[in-house]
Symmetry: C2
Subunit: 229 residues, 2 copies
């Protein structure tokens, strides 16, 4: 095809993590080379022979060492002056990670990778602030009607973790009793025999998310939904 088009295609990911009751995102910084002293979303250019999904996964792995089990396309940013060096469009993604499962050793060692609390994000390169904003909005919308919050928690978690996760992401107060009542009514949580250890106060029973059960219920018309007005 003889099309006179010179546009580069990149992917970028807003990677969410949740530790110590704080929502965080994963940012990188080039150690050498690049002029700017700014942090950026992990990402990079798509190769000719890889799909978009493959590209994000690869870049994430290369730049941060992280492998996301939840990855969802977010939006494609294509305005003219995103990158001054060339016309670049960015297909963005959101990813959910449990930071405990990975150490950020920054595989390709020219890169610094770090978790930043959502409340203390540094100045970001390009239009990444805008991408992040859209990513947060999507996360808020998505955890309200899909059980994806569990991807951010340990496999076995106390109810309070779930509560705090929702309160943090949606910035709303929860009534603990009603929240628990609702979640249990969905019947997608398994009660384990385990309890928290070494905590102050009464140790909480641990629960796990029953994904298989959820899929079944979903097939039968069940809709997960958590609304915090």
């Amino acid at each position: 095809m003889k099309i006179n088009q010179d546009i580069k295609v990149a992917v970028d990911a807003v990677v969410f993590g949740y530790t110590e009751n704080v929502l965080k995102i994963l940012l990188i910084k080039q150690k050498f080379g690049t002029n700017e002293d700014k942090w950026a979303l992990p990402g990079g250019f798509v190769k000719n022979k890889e799909s978009l999904d493959e590209a994000v996964s690869r870049e994430l792995k290369e730049e941060t060492g992280v492998v996301a089990n939840y990855l969802e396309q977010l939006y494609t940013f294509g305005s003219l002056n995103r990158d001054e060096r060339a016309r670049v469009i960015s297909v963005s993604y959101i990813a959910l990670i449990n930071p405990k499962n990975y150490s950020l050793k920054a595989d390709t060692d020219a890169i610094d990778a770090k978790w930043f609390a959502i409340s203390h994000i540094p100045k970001l390169a390009f239009d990444h602030k805008e991408i992040l904003k859209k990513g947060i909005e999507r996360l808020q919308a998505k955890i309200s009607y899909q059980p994806i919050g569990f991807e951010l928690l340990d496999l076995k978690f106390p109810f309070s973790d779930l509560e705090n996760l929702y309160q943090t992401i949606l910035k709303k107060k929860i009534d603990r009793r009603n929240f628990r009542k609702k979640l249990l009514s969905f019947k997608i949580l398994n009660e384990t025999n385990e309890f928290q250890k070494n905590v102050s106060g009464r140790p909480a029973k641990l629960y796990s998310f029953n994904k298989k059960k959820y899929r079944e219920l979903e097939r039968d018309g069940f809709h997960f939904e958590i609304k915090l007005v």
Copy 2:
């Protein structure tokens, strides 16, 4: 930048129209040149100096003569073999149109443009069937929690048009009384003094969508929502 990337960027639109109580989409067919005898979503390659949104609007205008007042980015399709001639990624959109407002004279006259009932879609080129599927899903989700259905109707419409629109798109039966009660409780419809003309049965009063009022309510925390279980 010295990136060895050879990927072309296209845009495609799933354009919805609604006439005679039937949901339709707008398809095009190249009159000469292209090999395939298949219909396709309107769209084309992005120019170096235009944004993605500008690109869809331009292509829509060029290929079908239509100007969408509602246009929303849908998803970016980027698998390897979408187009056999080259690596092409497609940033897709959905658009809502009232077909009565346009005649499809196919501006660039090498192209045929036609409305197809959603229930009688011909074989589509490339992966456009997949794009269409995602477009329909998005439309169904979106009209459930945003008042975008009005973009498909006349400025003044009888309640029955709204009912039929929702029933058609969501493939669910509506209780007319409850539906009307709910819509009216939102207070985003203006009652006009006009009535249907030349219809069988009792002529219905016409209503119009008060967008300004909706924006105000939205700002105050109101959430539009129509759920048809």
